[in-house]
Symmetry: C2
Subunit: 218 residues, 2 copies
Amino acid sequence: MYSLAEENYLKAIFHLEENVKGGVSTNAIAERMATKPSSVTDMVQKLADKGVLSYKKYKGTTLTAKGKKTAANVIRKHRLWEVFLVDKLKFHWDEVHEIAEQLEHIHSEELITRLDKYLGHPDFDPHGDPIPDKDGNFKATEKRLLSELTKKQKGVCVGVKETSSEFLQYLDKRKITIGTKITVLGKEFFDGSMIIQVGRDQFFVSKKIAENLFIQTT
Amino acid sequence: MYSLAEENYLKAIFHLEENVKGGVSTNAIAERMATKPSSVTDMVQKLADKGVLSYKKYKGTTLTAKGKKTAANVIRKHRLWEVFLVDKLKFHWDEVHEIAEQLEHIHSEELITRLDKYLGHPDFDPHGDPIPDKDGNFKATEKRLLSELTKKQKGVCVGVKETSSEFLQYLDKRKITIGTKITVLGKEFFDGSMIIQVGRDQFFVSKKIAENLFIQTT
DNA sequence: TTTATTTTTTAGACAAGACTAAAAAATAAA
DNA sequence: TTTATTTTTTAGTCTTGTCTAAAAAATAAA
């Protein structure tokens, strides 16, 4: 059994590993956890002793298979709870993160098994992120950023990269949500902005928006 | 905002106050929390500083109005989660306590408001215990122990005093649950045992059983 | 390659909560 | 009322997880 703090470290390192080649740096972990590097060093040494990550002084850390599975399990719980909050309790998708951040630390295998079943074994959370299975395996998805598409390409919105309230509320205003069909009508090479079609509406989106929207091309 | 430990102390003291006249003794709290009296003294002094209870050295403690409300709120959350676990996730009523013990510490007003609504504003948890409203008020119930009834009296099971797995499983075996109609067919003054009718079955229950079953007479 | 800068680690301290051992107060027994 | 027992508190220690300040290693610049 892992403490709340340990689970949070594992989760942070797991996410950081996705975007980095070698080991994850102490500073990177500190920044993500909003803590000091010295605290990270302490915790990382403790977690190395527990066998969930490998760590060499000054060389960064890498999760072991055990560590990855543990982290994936926390992520699984987080995302299942998010589905619960949105689907059942009718929360808006930009309100659920903080609460799921607490719920993910509830310890009970049986609870998650039943919750998963109750929710109909969802594969994705309300932001389009995949929910790993109990063994920590993620379903591979071939999603791309909207910014990678070119003129005339079509696709379905399957997720967001950025999850800030501001961004999610922008999407709402534009009636874009998971499952929304999007067509690229034009793309400006100079600044990466696009004209897209969403339902009957056509409008302009900046590069920043296009780089934070995941699309599955059809 | 109160820490997990603080909430657990408030809850324990709240329950202890129900069964005791004056202030609650340090030893009683220690026993209920499975901790040492010295730890209780420390915490109780801290909670007194926060204004949730009044404490005089060697004299025991009493919750203030603020403390009672806070405790009631934790209890409210615990019991609502229990309803969720039993009604929605189909847990058995003897399996939910431990999990609710964790869920009760999730901090979010909105979550509880929505959960309450989702569950249909239940007044009682799966063990028949009343769920206080958001202001900490308990609905008064005129429930009595089965052991207080006499021959020929009828009633409906509305709750249990003892909540151990063993007891709840005994009740299951006898097909007794919340809402079950029970009639006292006979009572033995010597040992307090009874013959009762449940559905089509008639059987013997010991004094110990009768003293742990709450009945609402009709 | 030597110097400067950045990153990381160590050392020591602190807060929350718990514990043990010993002292003090309250209660019960003689 | 004095003595014995129980209850409660105090004092000091420990663990977890954090912090600051300073030292050490790694990296970048000159």
